[in-house]
Amino acid sequence: MISWPNLVSQLFNGLALGALLALISSGLTIIYGTLGVLNLAHGAMFMIGGYAGFVAYQYTESFILAVIAGSLFVMLLGVLMERVIIRHFYHRPHEDQLLVTFGLGICFVELVRLIFSSQSQLVPPPALFQGITNLGFMFYPTYRLAVVGIVAIALGALFIVLYRTRLGMIVRAGIEDSVMVDSLGINVYRVFMAVFGIGAMAAGFAGIVNAPVVSLTPGIGDDILVQTFVVVVIGGVGSFPGAILGGLIAGEIISVTSMFNPGYAYVMLFAAMTLVLVVRPHGLLGVQGRE
């Protein structure tokens, strides 16, 4: 029943899903790592990126402009959210942060539902990537192939920002010890704002890039949020490489399990997460002892 072409195609499918999860999770994990805020509105940011891009597409019919508009809109929304609401919660208990971000997520979803209704909206892939590609051993939607490349470039860009720029250095130092960074005279709150904006943008970018793959509905971020948290836990909270590794592992688990019994895809995903938590409580690439 299980043929090699089927297995390879599912492995590839897992790579595509994993790349997307990696990108969304990296946004979530750098926000948590730096600010200590578990942003439960992250799934809604992903959704809003899709819708903002959809609106831009309606006006411009340009996919590239849609991606730019979707990403920038969510970045601005992230910055606004951090300035107006989140910053008041840095020193509050985690439960308060969870509730306020969860509440914001619900507000965003309902607002989008009010504006666009629950009916799904379509964003077609760019003409360049339409159709199906014959990879020799299987046929695969061209745009999904492109998504792997696009996401890889985005992750590369994020890596450069985090590991090759002064901002990135401060962010990474902030993840380790924000009090020390603050005492060195760096305005950590401005850095926090930038980090929240970048993290949100990663979700928004993923949302519009993923829009041609799945039709847009207001609830599209719900499942992604759960998967993203699993990815972050597997990879290690606050770890950028961990988000990538966790994303790829999660994508492959979902995809390969689906080949044998789709009903167990989530069961296996959570089983894997539990296993990681037992063996390495800080995740595969998480830093032990980090607060």
Binding site: S3, P5, N6, S9, Q10, N13, A16, L17, L40, L98, L99, F102, G103, I106, R113, S117, S118, Q119, S120, L122, I132, M138, F139, Y140, P141, Y143, R144, V213, V214, S215, T217, P218, G219, I220, D223, I224, V226, Q227, F229, I254, S255, S258, M259, P262, G263, A265, Y266, F270, M273, T274
Partner: protein
């Protein structure tokens, strides 16, 4: 709404913290006793002791069935408005209706079920105990319908089922207090099966996409059983959870299965997403698509992917050429909501109109009296011609409409998505009432 959000919040946190679980709850029902000429039972006569009667409506307003739930809700609201004003269309279905039901103005409450049985049951339990709901409705998910069946029987409150295609709803999970207007999966299979065999031939290989709950399993089983009689085989049955975010893994298995026909049993947004992704993966270039139980709005949401696709449905607006009541309904609905009604709205409207008719005929809201009136099996009008409810299982015997997606060039207007291929009378399609193990419960 607030309660609902809080419940969702709890469930989400519970999921994150414990990786599983929805938190259920139970509310004890109030059972006031009123002196009346008929014995008190359920919310009767407490719920109708004033000048109004209350109906509890639960439809999915979020989640994968949200679009269909909203359409259904519009049908309910229009029916209540028409019943309260004694509209001409209601009088055609329920001639004794003047204003309200038995002179009582209908009031209603709406809860978001999110297509989840526990949410729907909690909301309806509240409507029964706090508002003394005299009738409850809800569906769109058969899992919800089955759960509300049980609630209705326990609380002795009539449940007029909304959308539900599972064989179980009026089959093994049937109850004395539950009634269903739209047909079940087996009926759809019996109606569309011959069309498929005629169109695609005998001895074909079928791949199924099945949502993992009572509706999906019974529709798939019904299709498999019927098509086996024409030598069709199942090469793969991909079972996906309700609201799956991505169908690519399932579709890769379908693409590699060598099937001739893809039978997509998914419903709501699941059907839209899986059909779109089937196109992306080239599955629709390799094999024909059939949607055995048509999904409201799927044609417009998939942007033309239903062209040439066969489906069985309860209602399609162009049948107004044949049925004057359908024309009246379409006009009233479009005037109020600005689009042609889909079958969710039709199902909702007719279900309420029939309930009003039965109450008026019984001359009472007393549930046993109303149930016995349904059980007379009287032939009554609907938007798709005369129908009747079977006394043995409370299933409405009504025609099934087979549609085929129109090519874009043939569409006369932006809502002209389907050709009506055939209107198949219900009588010959349905199995015997006990075929799915229905044993109705007691009246009291």
């Amino acid at each position: 709404m607030t309660d609902n959000l809080i419940r969702r919040g709890l469930s989400r946190r519970g999921l994150l913290q414990t990786t599983a679980g929805l938190i259920g709850g139970a509310v004890l029902p109030g059972m006031p006793a009123f002196a009346e000429d008929k014995p008190a039972i359920g919310s009767y006569p407490a719920g109708v002791s004033g000048s109004t009667a209350f109906i509890g409506i639960s439809v999915p307003r979020t989640g994968t069935y949200a679009v269909q739930g909203e359409d259904e809700l519009k049908g309910y609201q229009l029916a209540i408005e028409h019943i309260n004003e004694g509209h001409e269309l209601i009088k055609k279905i329920s001639p004794k209706t003047s204003k309200g039901v038995l002179g009582k103005e209908l009031k209603f409450g709406v809860a978001d079920s999110a297509a989840k049985p526990n949410e729907a049951v909690q909301a309806q339990q509240r409507f029964i105990s706090e508002n003394k709901a005299i009738m409850i409705t809800g569906g769109t998910s058969s899992a919800v319908a089955v759960a509300l069946n049980k609630l209705a029987q326990r609380e002795h409150v009539i449940f007029v089922c909304g959308i539900s295609g599972s064989n179980d709803t009026t089959g093994k999970d049937c109850v004395r207090y539950g009634f269903r207007q739209n047909f079940y999966g087996q009926t759809a299979a019996a109606a569309i099966g011959p069309v498929m065999v005629r169109e695609f031939g005998k001895g074909k290989k079928a791949a199924y996409l099945t949502p993992d709950y009572t509706y999906g399993h019974t529709v798939t089983k019904s299709m498999q059983d019927f098509l086996a009689t024409a030598g069709w085989t199942t090469v793969t049955n991909q079972v996906a959870p309700l609201g799956a975010p991505d169908y690519s893994s399932y579709l890769l298995n379908v693409a590699n299965s060598g099937a001739d026909v893809l039978i997509n049993v998914n419903w709501g947004h699941d059907a839209v997403l899986s059909t779109q992704q089937a196109k992306q993966f080239g599955v629709l270039d390799k094999m024909k698509l059939v949607v055995p139980y048509q999904v409201p709005f799927i044609a417009r949401e998939t942007g033309g992917l239903m062209q040439g696709v066969y489906a069985a449905t309860d209602y399609w607006w162009t049948i107004e050429d044949k049925f004057p009541l359908a024309k009246m309904f379409n006009e009233a609905f479009e005037k109020k909501y600005g689009y042609k009604p889909e079958w969710g709205a039709e199902n909702a409207y007719v279900s309420f109109a029939h309930w009003a008719h039965m109450c008026e005929q019984a001359g009472s809201f007393s549930p046993p009296d109303v149930i016995k009136t349904y059980e007379k099996g009287e032939t009554i009008p609907s938007l798709v011609g005369d129908v009747h409810y079977r006394p043995e299982d409370h299933q409405c015997v009504r025609p099934v409409i087979i549609v085929k997606g129109k090519q874009q060039k043939d569409m006369k207007n932006k809502e002209d998505w389907y050709d009506v291929v055939e209107i198949v009378p219900g009588e010959g399609l349905m199995q015997k009432p006990d075929a799915f193990g229905c044993h109705l419960g007691d009246y009291s």
